[in-house]
């Protein structure tokens, strides 16, 4: 056990899986000599050599397109796209090929690639470095979409992503890359993709979130307990697709009230999908309208105003209280 940041925990996952599985290789811009601009791939080049740890030319489409070929022929490429805002330059390779190869070849070929990329706001960055557009990928049949929220679950989910037989898009919440440390066990640990976790239990209200937004969501839950005597069930989705509907539905059947939090723009975002599933499966249990706290439907502002854009504990708390005030 060691206390690690998320960057260190992700690095540990890469080291341990590469050690065990020769088919895994890492490719991307600045991942080898520089160790990745956030240092997630630090030390891999020295240990596994340039055949398996590849500094690519500057071309995202080439990274993913090449990885598709590698994956078809028995390798397990872990691609780093430097920021999620640049993953769109590779979008057609993901959508048109990575996501469809198994389907198109009627199961003859499959594409076990991982696309790792930092996403989200709160780090005072330039344009294109702060957005949260997981919906693009979650919306694409054939892709899995995973977003961890802490060092330990980041490590365990990345391990699963590398072992998954299908393409996994793995968004890393960069604002908490180094924000806090957590005990991470030395021995390998894997969390199933497609399973949410109930990280706090209560009967009064359900709060659902994921990624960097787990921090303000948990703060809001703490304050509800302290200030209002309200106990919330808090669910960390961990996978956006496949979505763990069962965990969400079970909780809402118990509490009857739910607030969903995502950093992404509001319209057509993950919260909207969770709402739809809850309406389908737990409508008769609801005691108040389902509410969501999200980013606005605007381009996330440059950093002077980004905190005004990002959902925070205060906003979550306000909406949670409004939900609790509804008399059914």
């Amino acid at each position: 056990m060691a206390k690690m940041t998320m960057v260190q925990a992700l690095n540990l996952a890469l080291h341990q899986e590469m050690e065990k599985d020769d088919a895994i290789l890492v490719l991307g811009e600045d991942v080898a000599v520089d160790g990745g601009v956030f240092r997630v791939t630090e030390g891999l080049l020295e240990k596994y050599g340039e055949l398996r740890v590849i500094d690519t030319p500057l071309a995202e489409s080439a990274i993913i397109g090449t990885a598709v070929g590698m994956a078809i022929h028995g390798l397990k490429p872990v691609c780093e796209i430097q920021f999620s805002g640049f993953s769109y330059l590779a979008f057609h390779q993901l959508e048109s090929h990575a996501a469809r190869m198994r389907w198109r070849s009627r199961g003859a070929y499959h594409v076990p690639l991982v696309l790792r990329t930092p996403y989200g706001g709160g780090v005072r960055a330039l344009e294109h470095h702060s957005e949260s557009r997981e919906s693009y990928y979650a919306h694409t049949p054939g892709l899995k979409m995973v977003i961890p929220s802490s060092p330990r679950n980041a490590r365990a989910l990345l391990v699963s992503a590398m072992r998954d037989p299908d393409p996994v898009v793995f968004f890393e919440p960069k604002s908490i890359y180094r924000a806090f440390r957590e005990e991470v066990p030395d021995e390998e640990e894997a969390l199933p993709i497609g399973s949410a976790q109930v990280v706090r239990e209560g009967n009064d209200l359900t709060l659902i979130s994921y990624g960097a937004m787990m921090q303000p969501t948990l703060t809001a839950a703490d304050r509800l307990a302290e200030e209002d005597g309200i106990q919330a069930d808090v669910i960390d989705l961990l996978s956006i697709s496949p979505l763990d509907e069962e965990t969400c539905v079970n909780s809402v059947r118990k509490t009857g009230r739910v607030v969903i939090v995502n950093e992404a723009p509001r319209s057509f975002g993950p919260a909207a999908e969770v709402m739809a599933r809850l309406i389908e499966k737990s409508f008769w249990y609801l005691e108040a309208p389902i509410r969501r706290v999200t980013g606005y439907d605007v381009i996330i502002p440059l950093f002077a105003y980004e905190q005004a854009y990002l959902p925070d504990a205060q906003r979550i708390l306000r909406v949670a209280r409004e939900t609790l005030d509804v008399v059914s």
Binding site: E29, D30, V33, D34, G35, V37, D55, P57, L58, A59, E60, S61, A62, G85, F86, Y88, L89, R124, A125, L126, E127, H128, H129, R266, S267, Y296, D297, V298, I299, P301, L302, F303, A304, Y305, E306, A308, Y309, Q314, R315, R318
Partner: protein, 362 residues
């Protein structure tokens, strides 16, 4: 049948007029007025000093991340100096000297890198595109601008900047190819500063030059000593004149060096050594141009000192103004709802009002 060699229409030339030791090729020296040369010099110095000031402001937390230009002043200014106001210019994200020459204010840079999108405002009548951060993506826009210029029957040109790394992106190839097919008045300026973050030019492509990439698309490509402002200018003006005359696009590779960090978030000691930087420090563009101007009797040490003082004051004033402006803009987060569409849709107006109601309480 014997195998034959296909005769290709272009070769790649390299231009150097004023070398790092101050040697001048008199035959190639362009005939430029004293006023124009001094103006170039002024902007080189302004570009350098403003950059240094921004680096300090960033380190003090007064602005955010930005991409320094140190060492690339000649490559930028020699290029834009060949444009006139009605021409278009599309920067990447490391062209502050070029943008200053093209009429953008220092204050706007400080606002932009201070985290205020107001800094992205394009002043009335200036034909610069905003900064484009996704590498290489803006290159195609210069083809479209060039096409529109043709449709409008004008003889303007569109000049676009990008780095060596950008030449690996598909958009670069699509742009040069389309410009060749459409014969657009587009000048592609590649600032080969030897690095794309940590990736050296030699790892970016096996091609010997970047200029030769144009040849595959039937477009002329030329390489310059990008730290020699005279060579850069000559390549640019020739390309501009060809484009104005309806003879189509050119790719120019300015061979230069990024003397500073990639951005303020980068640590270059991880991927390059001091000796290499020292070699390029000696080739740096400003001192060699100053020597040239002194030899021509256009510049003295006293004049340089006076100019340095003047620039220092100008920068200080811009910083003061920008910081005052930031203070007044601080509480205008609601402007995040502006400029998304010509008309704000109802759902967005609703979000804006909810924001206003909540934000006041916070």
């Amino acid at each position: 049948m014997p195998r034959t060699t296909i005769d290709l229409p272009y070769q790649v030339e390299h231009i150097s007029i004023l070398d790092e030791d101050g040697n001048l090729d008199h035959d190639l020296e362009p005939d430029l007025s004293e006023e124009f040369l001094l103006r170039l010099h002024r902007y080189m110095l302004l570009g350098r000093r403003f950059d240094e000031r921004m680096l300090k402001l960033q380190r003090q937390g007064r602005i955010g991340t930005f991409a320094p230009i140190q060492g690339q002043e000649a490559s930028q200014l020699g290029s834009v100096a060949a444009l006139r106001d009605s021409d278009w210019m599309a920067p990447a994200f490391r062209e502050s000297a070029a943008q200053l020459w093209r009429g953008q204010s220092m204050e706007s840079f400080l606002l932009y890198y201070g985290g205020y999108f107001r800094g992205g405002e394009i002043p009335e009548g200036i034909r610069n595109l905003p900064v484009a951060i996704p590498v290489g993506t803006q290159i195609l826009h210069a083809v479209g601008l060039g096409y529109a210029i043709k449709v409008h029957g004008q003889d303007d040109v569109a000049m676009v900047f990008f780095g060596d790394g950008a030449t690996s992106e598909g958009d670069f190839h699509e742009a040069v190819n389309n410009a060749g097919v459409f014969k657009t008045p587009t000048i592609f300026v590649c600032q080969n500063n030897q690095y794309a973050i940590s990736i050296p030019r030699s790892h970016q492509t096996q091609a010997k030059t970047l200029a030769q990439k144009a040849l595959a698309y039937g477009v002329p490509g030329i390489q310059t000593d990008g730290n020699d402002i005279l060579a850069v200018y000559v390549a640019a003006i020739e390309a501009v004149e060809r484009a104005r005359a309806g003879e189509g696009p050119t790719l120019i590779e300015n061979v230069t060096y990024r003397l500073s960090v990639h951005t303020t978030a980068d640590d270059p000691t991880r991927y390059r050594d001091e000796e290499e930087v020292a070699v390029w420090e000696k080739r740096e563009p400003i001192s060699r141009f100053q020597r040239y101007l002194k030899d021509k009797g256009m510049l003295t040490d006293n004049a340089i000192t006076a100019l340095e003082d003047e620039i220092k004051d100008e920068i200080a004033e811009a910083v003061d103004k920008a910081e005052e402006r930031m203070e007044t803009l601080k509480d205008e987060a609601i402007t995040m709802f502006d400029h998304l569409y010509a008309e704000r849709p109802a759902y967005l107006e609703e979000q804006r009002q909810a924001f206003a109601a909540h934000w006041e309480k916070a």
